[in-house]
Symmetry: D3
Subunit: 244 residues, 6 copies
């Protein structure tokens, strides 16, 4: 791998600078302002006692997520989805991805009939917003679960987490597999993959897309190698942020 | 692998019965009624000379797709999205997947400023609707491109296709990797993956989701093996349907 | 009447070829794929025990219908109403017509507190879609009622049908009254009428519209004569399809 | 026919009191506040030079209509369709009916590339709102056309009207055919029919619906007789209002 | 102040002709058709026993309002908000203003668990529609409360009104403060203010906006003087209309 | 005035701590993250060359604003307006207020045919979000105008600002007029007023509402005194932030 390939001087297997400002919000039960380089996402976790009606009486909890971008988080202003009166396909897709990723590490039985809504609002976007959102949302989620335990809404000694979860994008740019694509890399990528991995190194989601050129099995393998290494580092940032 | 695992008697690496009724519609430039077992999807391809305004003047074409389920395609009736007044996240996600999958095999320069809209309407659903839709849509697309060539909207000797494309679902059910999940298998799968592969065996999309349990690298590899073998067979069905 | 007036060689009092494929769907309690010539409509009847809240406790059932066209059922592609986010006036009007027509032959007291939702999805359109929908929907309805009787949701010896119902369009084209207009005839009609008639020959709906020229009483009478004769034949097709 | 059948003492072939306040609005090019008994509809006709883009260049005009009810025009308050965010089927159906009825008497060629939008807003409802709307809208339309002629947007000596048009409801209540149903009669009617007739006595629309019991040919004939007689009277009211 | 400043010959401190037609509607519990010059607003008050679920059990009532303009109430036709599928900001703002203004004079405890919905529909607009709506709505409200008292839904000897309320617009046109702006004045105003005042002369709402030029404290004072004087006269019209 | 009245120890005429982080966003032409105590609003100004079609050719610019709250900016989570599919009345009202306030200090002729869209997104809410938004938006606006001047989209030596603008809330709580209400004060206020004032001390907006009790002229005067003093201080914060 070459040190000089990337605009910001990173090596191909290097993450951007990651910061996690835990407890950013005074209002939410859990929150984190996460940045992957210039990408900044405010993640809050709202804990509510009880579950939606269609889930009641099963003794299980529910975790869901909503993702959104501020209109001027991007280089040119986008119209608000509230003004357009409908949510676009990309927003839906990412909200669903975040929700599934978090549910994969929550013990719903142990959570009991409680609901956690995760909000991931992109304040500034420079590629990798969905993966930063997942990594930050985990921190917010962990704090909201701890809050629920302290308030005795969760009748458990430990918070109902089976594992931690983080995410990173990988892609092939000019034939070269790379970790954690910034926006300028993302738009040029032949193949783009978002990988969600637990703290123990198991896959939760693998979403690879041939943006410009179909990819073969060995390329897929290289991308997975990069992603697994990257999420090891991201897990460490989460552990540090949570003071564990 | 065991022959007796599956409700319908298939082996774990066996597709359901596949049929492709090419040219089902009298109205569309290309069409196919495809079935994967009891799953039936009507795919039409509508050819329009010209492109959306935001693409005009670039000398390139556009291919897009819309997916929908009839309200009683499923075991219990779903409300229509037209009645609800908005399209759900799952519908958006699948429409986008089909569009990307087809665009991956079209030479947009050679297509010229022409638009193809693919409609995939699920008449009956029993798992695998999105993968059947992609496989059927390719047949409809090929015929619509041929129609455009005959009508001289495409100024080319050959239809502007770089490759063919087909798709299949795979998943892990009770610890066993399986090909082409029917609905009863899909709801019990620990992990579920949709794989879109070109006729030459390259990946276009890999979308794996841990529905119940995160998966490791060797499980991922087994699923990809099954999917690659399955799409070889699906490619043959497409070739036969297209009479090549 | 002249044999040579119509593009497809029919006499003015002749229906197009009618086929009714009863039980087309594996999922619905009742279903029929009906064709009037090239017009094809998939009709399903979904039986649900119980009624909407506003009807509960009255000991009466409810029958309602929804009509929709696939985007490429027509010669040029129409936008989906789900994408537009609202249902057009024509769709509303036809859905309401189908619902009223079927309710006219159901004994709501005998149905008891059960709901039947009829879905009529036009797979291919060539004129007369609303009338084909009514004729096909009756077959689906009859089977769904029979299903409800067998499952003992309906506590009756006989299915709660007062009569059968079918429908046909009639119109005046170049001064000539004609039965069962195909699309090319429909667009040229001076007057267009949809007539819904019971098996016993009573009117359920008479909807005549002067598209191009107001019509007099004798023209109205000729159109009603044609429609009454046509629905006698359609009733026979229904009886045959239902194996009675 | 019996004099004592009806709550308000009318004979079965008698209209309610009809008043037409022509030119009610200071703003519109044509307007009329019409009442059929307690039913009051404000009809305005807005004349615009030019036609919608899809009609331009054909040398023909366009007439369209929108119907709406004030939320407390009825005995119990209805939610506003603007608040619900969508227009109901009934509103769509009636708007379309009014538009078709008026177009039937306008010479679109002579109108030239001009558009008239008719608004019929029900201020108070007591049955027959759609028929009152049509009768009143004709008066507003005639004045708007005259305005367009005076302003020389219409290059014709005479206003481009082929005929006048009015409408009335008829129905069978307790087995008795009746003219111009008030709300209390309408809800009890076995059969309900709205008939739109030109000044020369030709039918524009005949919409009969068996609300409770299918009807036979002789009942249909009785209803048409009543409607034709009623519209003769309504035409006289229009002529008087227009001062001709 | 000059007598010749205004197009309609009014002095700067003079209201337009005000008429209040109390009980205009046969359907509503209270109603008034109010005019401020050519501005005409139909106000109805709908009394319902009970309150929205979120208010139940508190022993208090609820008053809310909706404002709307007929499409051709204005000089050029506006699209209907029901057709656009959403309510505009101005409509929302005015509906909220009317609701707050009326709630300020109702004793919610004395009203008990009853709801009053005020509808203000502008039949013709010539400036000052929101202020006319408030003044007229008070009359409709008073009658609906009296109706509720007579029907014993309100268990009180007197109607639960703390005061009366009326409203007027004021503005600075060409440097001159003026009362009750007509449309031609309103569009030219440098500053525009709507003032809602109780019968006892206390402020309920003061909404001043610098349309063209920021205003100073003395201009604000002049406007408030005019408004307070104007609402004294409007209160007299209300008292007369209510026959007190 | 008493020092001990307020929960946070402020005197009645004291602002909360105000901070303005100018240039918070890397993406927008102008931006500021403003806080009034715990209330935090991210304001961005997006500069676009050109104006909406309906304004083109007049040689004048356009400034508009959109306000929104993050779902968990408040103590309990609110549903997103994008998910609800419509924008609420309060949001509309505040967006319009911000837009008008900024337009009052922009010289539209000097701006030329350029558009500035202001986005004010509330990241955390504790009362006074609309007034903080206006004060912060002015800073973002000033920078965006400076950017436009440097890029020569504005053909002027100076930025086209006539004055600066800031805003503050005032209210009467337990009979005591107070400056800059925090949320706990706002909900208890008898009267609540938002005042927008230019740097020169002229009023742009005065919006006073009797939430619980109508107010008299002297109370109004006390509130205006407080607001005028408060905005003097806010203007100084703006000047400091802009480094002038």
């Amino acid at each position: 791998m070459s040190d000089t390939l990337r605009a910001d001087g990173r090596t191909t297997d290097q993450l951007r600078e990651v910061t996690i400002e835990r407890g950013w919000s005074d209002q939410a039960e859990g929150s984190a302002l996460i940045s992957y380089g210039r990408t900044k996402v405010l993640c809050t976790a709202s804990f509510t006692n009880g579950v939606p009606r269609w889930m009641a009486g099963k003794g299980k909890g529910w975790v869901t997520a909503e993702y959104s971008m501020l209109p001027r988080s991007t280089n040119s202003r986008m119209d608000r989805e509230s003004v357009k009166g409908k949510i676009g396909g990309r927003t839906h897709e990412i909200s669903r991805l975040i929700g599934r990723s978090l549910r994969a590490v929550v013990d719903m039985k142990a959570l009991g009939e409680n609901t956690i809504v995760i909000d991931c609002d992109v304040l500034q976007a420079d590629g990798g917003t969905r993966t930063a959102a997942i990594t930050g949302a985990y921190v917010a989620l962990a704090d909201a679960l701890e809050w629920g335990r302290e308030k005795r809404f969760i009748g458990q000694k430990a918070v109902p987490l089976l594992d931690s979860v983080s995410a990173v994008s990988v892609g092939i740019v000019k034939g070269e597999p790379m970790l954690d694509l910034a926006y300028v890399e993302d738009v040029r990528a032949e193949t783009d993959m978002n990988v969600v991995v637990t703290g123990r190194g198991l896959f939760v989601e693998v979403q690879g897309t041939a943006e410009a050129a179909p990819f073969d099995r060995s390329e897929l393998d290289s991308l997975l190698d990069l992603a697994l290494a990257g999420t090891v580092t991201l897990t460490e940032f989460q552990t540090t942020a949570l003071g564990r």
